[in-house]
Amino acid sequence: MSSNVASYRNFDALRQGLTRRKMMDQAFVIIGLTVMLACLLILAILFIDLIRDGSARFGLDFFMNFASRRAERAGILAAWVGTSLIMLVTALCAVPVGVAAAIYLEEYAPKNWFTAIIEINVTNLAGVPSIVYGLLALGLFVYQFGLGQSIAAAGFTLALLILPIVIVATRESIRSVPKAIREAAYGLGATRWEVTKDHVLPYSTGGILTGMILGLSRAIGETAPIITIGALSFIAFLPQSPITSEFPFISFKWLNDPFTAMPIQMFNWVSRPDPEFQANAAAAGAILLGMTLLMNAVAIWIRYRFRKKINW
C-alpha cells in the first residue's frame, strides 16, 4: 500500500496507469458495440436469407393451396386456417382467466399462504418447458377429457401456456394505477368490484392488451406442444365452417376437427430431405415470422401510446 502511494507521487506512473485504464474503457466500448452489432447482424442475415429462400413461393396460390406431395403446388391453406382458429380459442380462454387471476392477485388477495401458493404457481408455470404442456394436454385433454386431437385441445393447451404471460402483464399494468384513484372511488362509496371495473381496469387496458398480444405471439409460434397432442401435418381439408347458412348460423363443430398449424407445417417441410421443400419451409417461416413480429410491434406501439396518453 505504502509503495503504491509512493509510486503515485511519481506523476508519470500515475498518468500511465490512467491512460491504460482509459484505453481499456475505450476498448470495452468497442468490444460491447461489436458483440451487440454482430449478434444483431447475424440474426438479420438469417432473416433476410429466410425471406430470400422463400420468395419463390410467395403468392396467392401459396395461401390457397393445401399441402401437397409436389413442392411447388403445396400451400398453407389448412395451416393458416388452423392457426387462426386455435388462436381464437386460446385468446377466448386465456384472456378472461388471466385477467381475472391478475385482478384477484392485485386487488383482492389478502397476504396469506393461499395467495402465496397462487403466486408461486404462476411464477413456476412461466418456467415450465413448453413441451411439458404438450404432455399435460395429451394426458388430460386428449385422453381424460376425450377431446381427441382437436382444435379445442390445441387451443386449451396454448391458453394454459400463455396464462402466466397474460397474468404477469396484467398485474404490472394494474399495479401502475395510483392508489389515490382507488381511494377516491372507495371514498365515494364504491364497492371493490366497482372500483376495479370502473377505475382500475380502464386505466390498465393498454397493459392488458399488450400482455394479450405478447401471449398470443408466443402461442402462434409454439410447435412442440401441439405436435405432442398429435397435430397432423398432412391435411387436405378445412375444419367445418363456424358460420352456417341455417339457424342459429353459428356452429361449434370445428372445435372437434383435426387440424394442422403454421409451425407444424413448416416443421414438416423442414424435415423433408427434398431441397425443393426447403423453399416452402422458408416461405412458411417468413410468414410466421412476419405475423409474430407484427403482433409484437403492435404491442410495443400500444404500450407506447397508452404510456403517453395517461397523465396522472
Partner: protein
C-alpha cells in the same frame, strides 16, 4: 345513517345487491387464480401417473444405468442416459455462446450505451425473443450447419454443435435483457462512489455493478438454462433424432425433448410402452429444470445484495 341513505336515495335492497354481486365476482376471480394451481397439480399428476405405468415395466436401475434408449425397437432398451447427455451437451454449447455474449451486451447497454442506443436496442431484443423456435431450427439446419461443415468438413449433417450454437444465439436476448434490468437496479450512488474513488466506467462496471447485480445475473443465466434445456424444435430439426450417448457436440444425438417430438409424430396407441415412455422422459426433463432452478435460487439467495 338511515337519514343519509334516504337523502342519497340508495335503498337497502340496492346495497345488498351490490354486496352480493361483489361476493359472486370475487368467487369467480379466486377460481381464475386457482387455474394456475390446478395446472401445476395436473402436470405433476399426469407425469407421475403415466410414468408409474412405465416404471412397472422398466426398473429404475435399468432406467438410470442402461446406456441405450430404444423403446420403439424390437430389442428395447430403456436407459435415459443418452437423452440426458444430448440435453446437457446442447445446453452447454448454448451457454458457452449465450453467457459471455449476453453479459457483454448487458454491461454495454447498462453502463456504456447512450440513451438513444438503449431505447432502440431494447425493443429489438424483445422482438428477437418472440421469434418462433421452429424458425431458429430452420436456420440451424439450412444455414449454420453448412457454414460449420465448410469449417469442419467431416461434420455430419445433423449435429448438436449447430443446434447448440443456434439455441445460444436464441437465448442471448433473454440473458442480456434480464441482466441489463438487474444491473440498472444497482443504485446510482454505488457507481458515483466508485467514480469518486477514481475508477473508470469499466472498473465500476466489473467491480461494483456486476457484483452488486450478481443475484439478478444468476437469475438471467438460470432463465437461459431453462430455455436451453426445454428447447425442442431446434434440436429436433438440426441435431438428428438418434439417441446417442456422447458429450461430443460434433455428433448427432437426440435430446429428451426431441425424443418426445419424435414419438408424437408417429401414431402410438394410448397406453403402449412407447406412449408411456414420453411421460417418463418428460418427468426427467422437469427434474432437470427443477434442479437448475433450485441451484439458481439458492445462488440468488446467497449473493443477494440489499441496499
Amino acid at each position: 345513517m338511515s337519514a343519509a341513505i334516504s337523502t342519497t336515495g340508495i335503498s337497502q335492497a340496492a346495497l345488498r345487491y351490490r354486496k352480493i354481486r361483489d361476493r359472486v365476482v370475487e368467487a369467480f376471480l379466486v377460481a381464475a387464480g386457482l387455474v394456475a394451481v390446478f395446472t401445476t397439480l395436473a402436470i405433476v399428476a399426469i407425469l407421475l401417473i403415466e410414468s408409474s405405468a412405465f416404471f412397472e415395466h422398466v426398473s429404475l436401475v435399468e432406467f438410470f444405468t442402461d446406456t441405450m434408449w430404444t423403446p420403439l425397437f424390437a430389442d428395447a432398451h430403456y436407459g435415459i442416459l443418452p437423452l440426458v447427455a444430448g440435453t446437457l451437451t446442447t445446453t452447454f454449447v448454448a451457454l458457452i455462446v449465450a453467457v459471455p455474449l449476453g453479459t457483454t451486451i448487458a454491461i454495454y447497454l447498462s453502463e456504456f450505451a447512450p440513451y438513444q442506443v438503449r431505447e432502440i436496442v431494447k425493443p429489438i431484443l424483445e422482438l428477437l425473443g418472440a421469434v418462433p423456435t421452429v424458425v431458429y431450427g430452420y436456420f440451424a439446419l439450412t444455414m449454420v450447419t453448412p457454414v460449420l461443415q465448410w469449417l469442419m468438413p467431416e461434420l455430419p449433417g445433423f449435429n448438436m454443435l449447430s443446434a447448440g450454437l443456434v439455441i445460444g444465439l436464441m437465448i442471448v436476448p433473454y440473458v442480456s435483457s434480464v441482466s441489463e434490468d438487474a444491473m440498472r437496479a444497482v443504485p446510482r450512488y454505488m457507481r458515483e462512489g466508485s467514480y469518486a474513488m477514481g475508477a473508470t466506467r469499466l472498473q465500476t462496471a466489473l467491480r461494483v455493478v456486476v457484483p452488486g447485480a450478481f443475484s439478478g445475473l444468476a437469475a438471467a443465466f438460470i432463465l437461459g438454462i431453462s430455455r436451453a434445456v426445454g428447447e425442442t424444435m431446434v434440436v429436433a430439426i438440426a441435431a438428428g433424432m438418434q439417441p446417442n450417448l456422447t458429450f461430443d457436440p460434433r455428433e448427432p444425438a437426440a435430446t429428451i425433448t426431441a425424443y418426445i417430438v419424435q414419438v408424437s409424430l408417429g401414431d402410438l396407441p394410448h397406453g403402449s410402452i412407447g406412449y408411456q415412455s414420453i411421460f417418463a422422459a418428460g418427468l426427467v426433463l422437469m427434474a432437470i429444470t427443477l434442479i437448475f432452478n433450485v441451484v439458481g435460487f439458492s445462488l440468488t439467495r446467497k449473493f443477494r445484495e440489499a441496499y
